[in-house]
Amino acid sequence: MAVKISTLEERISVPAEGDNPLNTQEYFINMGPQHPATHGVLRLMLKLDGETVREVIPVLGYIHRGIEKIGEHQTYRQFVHLTDRCDYLSAMMNNWAVSLMVEKAMQTQLNDRIEYIRTIMAELERIQSHMLWWGVLGMDLGAFTPFLYGFRDREMITDIFEETIGCRLTMNYIQPGGLMDDIHPNFVKRVKDVIAYAKPKIDEYEELLSGNVIIQERLRNVGTITAEQATSLGVTGPVLRASGVALDLRRVAPYGAYGQVDFEVAVGSVGDCWDRYWVRVEEIRQSFRIIEQLIDNIPAGKTMLSKPAKKIILPEGSHYAQLETARGILGIYAVSDGKSENPVRIHMRSPNYHNVWSVDAMTRNARIGDLVANISSLDIVVPDIDR
């Protein structure tokens, strides 16, 4: 068996032109790593035929920090602090995934207060993440105004986070065995204020963007992936649900307080950008609904297990836990030798890494403008792709 290892250079060498002199020349062009539409340092090699995109080759690694390697030299509690800077828009959900894995392995029982607060925080974060995405989608499609609207409303939620946690983006609040600290006394009131303020804003968003004929033209039947394609491509989260697969871990494998609340899972049917768009907008509404059900009933109790263990040593064997972040399923896979505080191997099943590859299937033979819409509708966060 001889395995052929290719390089990027070979990959992008343009084959000789065909015999038809009217055939235009295909050429490769770099989109990124510094490009306004790639949301960070994602680099795409585009094979273009004029305006038509023949192939998209994502080139990753510009923000690869070797978090999995670093994780092998850290305790689980330390590793939590690395995860929040992967998918920085789902920072707490990343923390939660590690905590979930540890708690599952240690068979820790948590009280309801912890679960409720975790759930509320995660949903707040989902809302702010989707709001940011909503604004950025507008900007990618050439409308700058939604960007500022999205940011304005997101600010109110980050203010709440700041009050309780002390920071606004890369938050470390959820820890194995509980929470870093109790919620701020103002927390409940402010969350209610935000719900009262932001819920009508969703309708305003719909008026500004969703009803716009150009947005409809730009999103409908653009970047369609069927349910079969989506499952085979391993996409998760809103992208998968937009294709008609109702896989939402909050519903099919409830964790936290999700088993106790009533909400609907938004599912699309066509799998185009428009479905991905409204699935997320609908998720904002459903997240508000979840928070509304929980916010008044946060039970009393401790926010940390009575005595946090000094050392967390997981039992020998492999452990896995997964949850639904704003972008899809985040899984934490850890292999422990049962002796050391450090994992033998820790691996993050990153939703963005799995989602980003579908951009090629979505964009073949579409225009550059569609490519931008597709990237935007995938809602990728590059540090989570590279880890």
């Binding site: 038809n20 009217l22 055939n23 235009t24 020349q25 035929d49 305006e51 073949r364 033979n365 579409a366 225009r367």
Partner: protein
């Protein structure tokens, strides 16, 4: 010579100089894109001459059709052609000889024509230029002895067939590529 005539003369020679230099550049410059720009300059100078002769309408049409249309199309075609930017055009010897012969022939024809035509020095004062446009319109669409509607229609037929031919030629490769890739080509009316 009164100041008005003086300005007139100065402007004329200025334009003439610029257009001769630019015309030489069109044929001598190696990079085809620069040649296109020089060509645009020549055409603009042509418009300038028309304005000096008070033929404002012709000048406007010259700018509209040649600079706004033809030069842009040439530039566009240059952009679409692949890798012309670096190739220096080095014609073969026989081609050079042919070129010299044909340009000499053209020069001779022009000189003979110049010699055999008597240029009336006291040209009749041009009509009110806005009426010129009116008159051109009348002639172009008029029939009878002084009308040009027949040639006008023939030219439009020719252009129509050229446009349809261009669309047919341009469509073929598109079809093939959309057959190869299962996804349907999005229809567009992009410039053909």
């Amino acid at each position: 010579m009164n100041p008005a005539e003086l300005t007139h003369t100065i402007v004329f020679y200025g334009l003439a100089l610029v257009s001769i230099v630019a015309a030489l550049l069109v044929v001598t410059v190696k990079r085809i894109f620069r040649a296109a720009v020089a060509l645009a300059t020549v055409l603009v100078c042509g418009a300038g001459f028309y304005i000096l002769l008070d033929y404002d309408f012709i000048a406007g049409i010259q700018l509209l059709v040649y600079v706004g249309g033809i030069v842009i199309l040439i530039v566009f075609a240059v952009m679409l052609t692949s890798s012309l930017e670096d190739t220096e055009i080095r014609p073969s010897k026989s081609r050079k000889a042919l070129g010299i012969i044909s340009s000499l022939g053209f020069l001779a024809t022009a000189l003979i024509a110049f010699q055999s035509t008597s240029f009336p020095l006291s040209a009749p004062t041009p009509e009110q230029p806005s009426d010129v446009a009116l008159e051109i319109g009348r002639k172009l669409l008029g029939y009878g002895s002084d009308g040009y509607v027949l040639p006008f229609e023939i030219i439009s037929l020719l252009l129509l067939s050229a446009v349809i031919g261009a669309i047919v030629v341009a469509r073929n490769p598109l079809k093939k590529s959309s057959d190869l890739s299962g996804q349907s080509e999005q229809s567009d009316g992009s410039a053909t």
